[in-house]
Subunit: 332 residues, 2 copies
């Protein structure tokens, strides 16, 4: 069987996103009993989202199997897992809103949010292996590894925020675990489910991690340099909060004594957000951080491509890489 | 291969408990990085405990396999899962201590406790399937089902505490999910791992659930009637807190208008704990609740035995049932 050419085209992504949304709805999660558990568990899932992780899983599956129908439950497991981490992270971060809506613990309470997250996670396991009894052990191994890393990454993120002497190496390790491990894991799960040739699931895992790190670096860059109307939120938030991003940590490495003093001065300023953002951005400019960060993103993307290369040509993987590359060139 | 007679004897339980403790120690969970995640994750596990769930899993496995070595990681997964639920439940219940020690969120903080619980749960999945790739899908199905029920049961427990009109049916549904589902699940997992004959895992699951319900009823009874030195904590706590236990709910069903008024009066009393416990206990006596509860426990035990019967004779299952029966006759 060959992949229908009309499907594997520019329109593949929105079609898959639509299918994922329909399949999520068909779970009827919010209607399960007890509703006081499942309504909060389903709440975030019902808000519009890009569905990146299930999308990556389905594309990886389609790289070796023509029909992705049986992979949909495993793909949904990844979206539910992602939502579980958001629900628990929002409690830890004391976040009042997400995607413009009250967070689960804000709308209900912390106990409900803890339990709703736990239930989402418990449910993902049966979804993951449902259609693939032969590959269940390999799928669970990959999934459990990614899930553990997401927990470790979240802890490293909290450690980093509290640490006096944080290093770039700490930061890179943190973003690989907190963000990139699940991007890689989503691709690995799709490939394992599709019974891809030996080595391919691992190559896609590594590819996804490298692209995931590049995304996070771009996110850090855009938080300082994006135009507000393209970025979707006011840039400069990380600077105002003294967040230890790639740019912040690299600036502290590169700064001469006078620049370091200026960075420390502005870190202590709390009542002049606009002046603070402008001054720190000017310091970042002087340290050539926009170019340095972009170069690093390009470097990660090249490393990722090197992992993908041996698996090409493959229509689904080409669409996958085009899609992820497009995200990486946004707002440039 | 036959089961060594010297092992399958009265001393089986303490030997297995010792092995479980050694295997738990050998995981070296507390030493993993980042330590700020794994030290709190391992903390409760290091306190002395009966290790009931892994013990049940190993006994069920031994019912069909002579050597339980390969089942140990799956058995540990159940103890780690149980600890994950304790860590999260303690946050929800705002409990300052457990087993005489500060709870995880009290010793560290809530964010750490949420994340430590999540990491424990993530880790259990790879432990569960590690030695049984062929049975992985069935193991995960059984495990995920029990885990979901534990979450549902905890939510029903919180609902019950807040509900104006709670019924005995609500209560029985709650304890089956919150407590008994994982007792049944532990046996089911051991049997599935051992490739027990068709029907046996399900029979043991049901047996475990019925015995688990009986335990919870006994716990409710002992909280009112146990002698303090045998019970390990001061009896009467449930009465003082107006907790909706089996006895509380059954009393409200059976009470005549005068007795109902007395129950309502004592529920409103907060400053005379000793008088309250004595008065409510006397009401329970008048309603014949000790006998009624004991009869119900015996009834559940008989139902459980009926599920076990077709699998006997089997040395490991006989030890299993002796062990659980002994727990059910404690303090009588």
């Amino acid at each position: 069987m060959s992949v229908p050419a009309v499907f594997m085209s520019q329109s593949t992504i929105p079609i898959l996103q639509q299918e994922i949304n329909e399949a999520l709805g068909a779970l009827r999660l919010a209607e399960r009993a007890p509703r006081r558990l499942y309504a909060p568990a389903a709440y975030l899932l019902e808000l519009p989202a890009k569905r990146t992780r299930p999308l990556l899983c389905l594309l990886a599956y389609r790289a070796w199997q023509p029909d992705h129908t049986s992979c949909m439950p495993a793909a949904l497991a990844l979206e539910l897992f992602h939502n579980f981490t958001l629900v628990h992270d929002d409690i830890m971060d004391n976040a009042p809103t997400r995607r413009g809506q009250p967070t689960v613990h804000a709308r209900w309470d912390s106990s409900t949010a803890i339990l709703a997250g736990d239930a989402l996670y418990a449910y993902t396991q049966q979804l993951l292996v449902q259609a693939f009894p032969q590959q269940a052990a390999a799928l669970i191994r990959c999934y459990s590894q990614a899930a553990l890393e997401v927990c470790e990454g979240q802890m490293r993120d909290m450690e980093l925020a509290a640490a006096e002497a944080a290093t770039l190496a700490d930061y890179m390790a943190m973003i690989e675990q907190k963000t990139a491990a699940l991007i890689g894991g989503s691709l690995c799960i799709g490939a394992l489910a599709a019974q891809a040739p030996p080595g391919a699931p691992e190559a896609l895992d590594r590819y996804g991690r490298l692209m995931g790190i590049a995304f996070q670096l771009l996110d850090d860059l855009l938080d300082v340099y994006a135009e507000a109307d393209k970025f979707g939120k006011q840039p400069g938030g990380d600077i105002i909060e003294n967040k230890k991003t790639y740019l912040w940590l690299r600036a502290h490495e590169l700064a001469d004594p006078a620049q370091l003093q200026a960075l420390q001065y502005w870190a202590s300023v709390q009542d002049q957000p606009e002046a603070k953002v402008a001054a720190v951005r000017a310091l970042y400019d002087n340290l050539d951080l926009p170019t340095r960060t972009r170069d690093l993103i390009v470097d990660y993307r090249r490393q990722a491509e090197a992992r993908l290369q041996p698996l090409l040509p493959n229509p689904a993987l080409q669409i996958l890489h085009e899609y992820l590359s497009e995200v990486l060139t946004r707002a440039y």
